[in-house]
């Protein structure tokens, strides 16, 4: 019976601001790993995933403003034009907030199918900006949206585990 419940109806510890910012920081650090070539194309966008997780699970805590600010930091780190990551993450956060009830209806594996189009749109926005500026598109960049969607399941599992209380609340 309990398998029927959406994941979020489980008892969770209240989310602190520190936990959210730490998760975003770890995601940023993972994004900045010095990869190149095909590995870079296959690298999932950890920041987008963590942002999307918080936008769908805690839409009143993490919203479009935070996504935009994180995007600006990514722009500085990647030496891209100011606003390129920011606009992609803004669109992503908007999608996440609009669909948060719908996404929570599904179990984690089905959620990744719901999340994939959102990631694809966000990647598309990034590529569109780049194409507008440089008239040049590297199609293998879109591979990252696929690996990101695949990573949704393990990442959600990890964050849910961290949010669960250490001791079982049912045993007294």
């Amino acid at each position: 019976m309990s398998a029927h419940f959406p994941k979020d109806q489980e008892f969770m510890l209240p989310v602190t601001g520190t936990f959210i910012s730490l998760s975003l920081l770890v995601a940023l650090l993972l994004n900045w790993l010095p990869l190149h070539g095909l590995w870079l194309a296959l690298r999932p966008d950890f920041v987008a995933l963590v942002l999307l997780y918080w936008c769908t699970h805690k839409p009143h805590r993490v919203g479009i403003g935070i996504a935009w600010a994180v995007g600006i930091f990514s722009d500085v780190a990647d030496a891209t034009l100011f606003g390129q990551h920011a606009i992609a993450y803004t669109v992503l956060a908007f999608g996440g907030i609009m669909l948060h009830r719908r996404v929570q209806m599904f179990d984690v594996r089905e959620q990744s199918m719901q999340v994939f189009p959102l990631l694809l749109i966000s990647y598309g926005v990034y590529v569109a900006v780049h194409w507008q500026m440089h008239n040049f598109v590297a199609w293998e960049y879109f591979l990252g949206s696929l690996t990101s969607a695949l990573l949704w399941v393990p990442m959600t599992a990890l964050l849910q585990t961290l949010r669960r209380p250490r001791s079982n609340p049912n045993e007294l």
Binding site: L25, L28, L29, L30, N31, W32, L33, P34, L35, H36, G37, L40, A41, R43, H60, G63, I64, G65, A67, W68, G71, I72, F73, V76, A77, D78, A79, T80, L81, F82, G83, Q84, A86, I87, T90, V91, F94, I97, M98, V129, H130, M133, H134, F136, A138, E140, Y141
Partner: protein, 303 residues
Amino acid sequence: MDSTRSFRFFNRGPSPAARLVFFALLSLLLLFVDARYKYLESTRRVLSIVVQPLQRMTTMPGVVWQEVSGYFATQSNLIRDNAALNQQHHMDAAQLLQLQILQAENAQLRKLLEVEQRSSYPMQMAEIVYIERDIFRRKVFVNKGSNSNILAGQVVMDDTGIVGQVTRVFPWLSEVTLITDKDHAVPVQVLRTGLRAVVFGSGDISNLALRYMPISSDILPGDVLVTSGLDGTYPPGLPVAKVGKIERDAAYPFARIACTPIAGVDQQRQLLIVSGLPKLPDLPAEADSQTLEKSRKSKRRMP
């Protein structure tokens, strides 16, 4: 409060759609300003002071791995490397002797011909800290910045040839655009014939393209391209690329020429930054535009 509006228990600020429009417009404005006017470089520098230590942290595992594996380098490896380097050193020393004689001779000849002396350039060693994580571009970051007097526009090379150009300088770090970057061009000349050309990056790791060369131009596979020094950025005579495949199709006005860079553009870790290039005299642009305007005016007056 307006009674016709439905009562809201919690005030959550503007709706997501309004926020989306606001932040999307803000991003577009920033994009436009950054791409067109480059006003935001100082903001970028300030933010980079926060971001860079974190970025350094992510390269730590790689650095630690290198140091550990370097520590455990086997003795036979060291002996072999040492022997090879010794041999290389002897060969280089012999060539250097010849070079010194040639340099003296060249200086003498240039003095006789009253041509401006070619000076040697001071160089700084820099190490690649990390590579661009943007799949669209070919850029690296090196560990020397404005604190070691690096300026944007300085040339970056390795021991075999040109690698790229410093395009952005941060306090402890600078961004180098590689010659293989899509938006990068180097003025070159063919070493064999002296033919001038421009070689463009292709956005690919090991490919350059020689564009706008007529089909009849005298270029053969294997020709070496060296910098011509005509742009005032690259010093003349440094090797850039070797000509690979040439396609001469009469249907197109230009030949398609693919080249491979000579320097290990994506292999090296240590790079040399060349500073203190001699300044070329300024172009007489103002006079030209004035005379052009005058001639235009006179033409207008004619009818």
